[in-house]
Symmetry: none
Subunit: 233 residues, 4 copies
């Protein structure tokens, strides 16, 4: 019995391991593909490189994805965070000031997305949008719009509670997005290849951006009122 169990155990284990590996394959391939697409772009990334980085052979890649283009789509699909649902709830329950809410929002984004490998997807989409307009539209729909909506809702809450003065909520939400985009570009583009003596400190950058947005730069706001045409009225 011990023997049969051992054998059985081994077989099962082996099978399980292989299953696990087998099931892990697509994920490993997607990770490798994400990294390489972000680094070199879609066209400049060779299928074989992706396979090699995932530790499999060229042929195996095409076992899981029918073409390089489908691999690209899967990479995007895999990395769009469908987490907005969850976040929305998180923020609906938020009790602090709106300023803290904005700060918290960025902190969460940074920790769960910006800092992680997944942030590369944004650079990838931006770089490849015009070669894959349907993917771009999909990303717009699934990631950008929900994110933008969340930010708008946060700002609206601030206005509703009388904590914030936001003349143009829609575009103000873009400011926060711009922050994220800039950080991502720093991380995955120039920052990743130009050795600087002053690498961008993400948290310092975010803090600076948030605090400036929240408080403004002018010492005496009234100095600012004569601003040219396109002032907020």
């Amino acid at each position: 019995m011990a023997l049969s169990k051992l054998i059985g155990g081994r077989v099962e284990e082996t099978q399980a391991k292989r299953e696990r590996r087998k099931e892990a394959r697509p994920g490993e391939l997607l990770d490798a593909a994400l990294d390489l697409f972000v680094e070199k772009g879609f066209a400049a990334t060779k299928s074989e490189e992706v396979a090699a980085r995932a530790g499999v052979s060229k042929g195996t890649l095409f076992l899981y994805f029918p073409s390089k283009e489908e691999l690209f789509k899967a990479v995007v699909r895999e990395n769009i965070s469908g987490r907005f649902q969850e976040w929305n709830q998180e923020f609906e329950r938020f009790e602090g000031s709106s300023a803290d809410m904005v700060r918290y929002c960025m902190k969460v984004w940074w920790e769960r997305v910006g800092m992680t490998r997944a942030s590369g997807i944004t650079k990838l989409i931006i770089s490849e949008a015009r070669n894959f307009p349907d993917i771009a539209a999909f990303y717009q729909q699934e990631v950008i719009r929900p994110g933008q909506d969340l930010l708008r809702r946060i700002l609206q809450r601030g206005v509703d509670r009388g904590e914030l003065h936001v003349p143009d909520i829609e575009y103000a939400a873009y400011l926060i997005t711009a922050s994220m985009v800039f950080l991502i570009m720093g991380k995955h583009s120039l920052g990743a290849c130009v050795p600087t003596d002053h690498p961008l400190d993400a948290e310092r950058y975010l803090s600076c951006h948030m605090e400036t947005m929240l408080r403004g730069l002018c010492t005496r706001p009234e100095d600012n009122d004569k601003g040219a045409g396109r002032n907020r009225k």
Copy 2:
């Protein structure tokens, strides 16, 4: 004499025309290449497309640029604005408030770069930086650093004149850069391929960003003082 003049004129004109064509070629090719590289990326752009868009045949491209890669480098070289010298002087003579100076700075950038075809170079560099690290370094050196320096000087002037309160001048300058980067990405990436019912209005965006930066969003700044760690004072 009239005759000889006429003949002379024709010859000159002829020569001039040919010369003009020959001299125009590289520029036309660079323009075509910029557009296509921005749109599709370096690797996904075919040499023949570039030639076709410039109205010449494949072979002609290689008469002017020894390789696709050299064409790329030439595109970047051609489009780095060495305008900072001139801008610096412009801003040294500026007499208005620092807030207006910031506004004016963005306006100038938008009109002379952001709005023009040349803005694409930024998207191009960001997309290709890691494939052409030396080009990226060159761009960093020749465009990013001088731009950043100019912005820092403007902010410093505001601080010196007591008009601005900027705890972290270096990173505050990045905020302005982020604005530009975001606009460019909007223009050349998603914005260029995803048909939206609300296309990004650049001037509205810039205005919103500038005014928010300058004035802040909080209604009562003191509400803001309990903000997390890296607050000013």
Copy 3:
């Protein structure tokens, strides 16, 4: 057991067959390339032709050789006979007369090189020397010089044994080389394309050359003594 053996046998065979094919490829390609380079020259030979003659597709060629030029170098490397070591020994043990030794030497060369496909390499090198000077130098070093050394040693032996009278051993060795060169040119150049009613009979040619060299043409050597300048005294 029979079964497992059969399976084992099959697997081995399969593997072996694939291995054999893979290992055979470079050789087949080199053979095809040699023939074509000899026939048409390096520049006029298309990669695809080489591949086709080796029975594979264009792409396969570049799986084994990184470029057409590397293929050329490999062809030369593959076809330089490092046989001089072995030949030297063979001739050290030779016991007959020096005249027979010369005859034997040519016979051996003809049978092992001149008659074979490898002889083409000489025509190839001669045709391409000035386009590939380093290859030419390599050939000079590895083939010409050792061959020349061997011939000189044979003649020296004849002089030492009192069988031959050779006033200028170095240049006399060239006479034998000239014989080989002429034959090769006949075989791979004019002779291969001009249909003659009298094709060159290699053995008759070699025999004629050797015997004439050994015996001379003059009926009464003394008639010859008034010959111009550089006569043997």
Copy 4:
């Protein structure tokens, strides 16, 4: 009158000069082409190089020769010495010994062909024969055969006069040809690109070859009679 004469003179002179240059053009082009074809081969020589070496522009080349291939044919045609007629007569009148006649023949060849640029044509033909079989046949017809005939006639005269013992006149003539071929290859191939400490001394080589041929190498011809199968009976 002096003036008009001067002017006239100038005009005529100018015209004449231009005419002369114009008429010289094809020749200059042929010379340039010969050099380059010999050096690099037909396929590896660019038309533009030929034009440049002749001091004209690419277009001009095609004004005189309708295609690169026609240029090649013209080069060959231009450089086949139709001098055999003249040589034949020269040798018919020759009065010395046959040995001297052979020596004289080689000397003349060396001075009028071997030493000159025209010798390259032989290397060219040998290299390209199989790409241009009709040219090769033409060369065979016009150069090789007459040369061979001349040599045969010289040897025959020696036999007729009892001065030479030539069992195989046809093939013996090849020996002399081999000499020329070897020298030309030395000059235009390896010798032209491999720097040697012992460059081939053409006259020493010719002398060695001729004297050896005439006199033989064996000290006692009778030692030679037991030679292997392929002896002359």
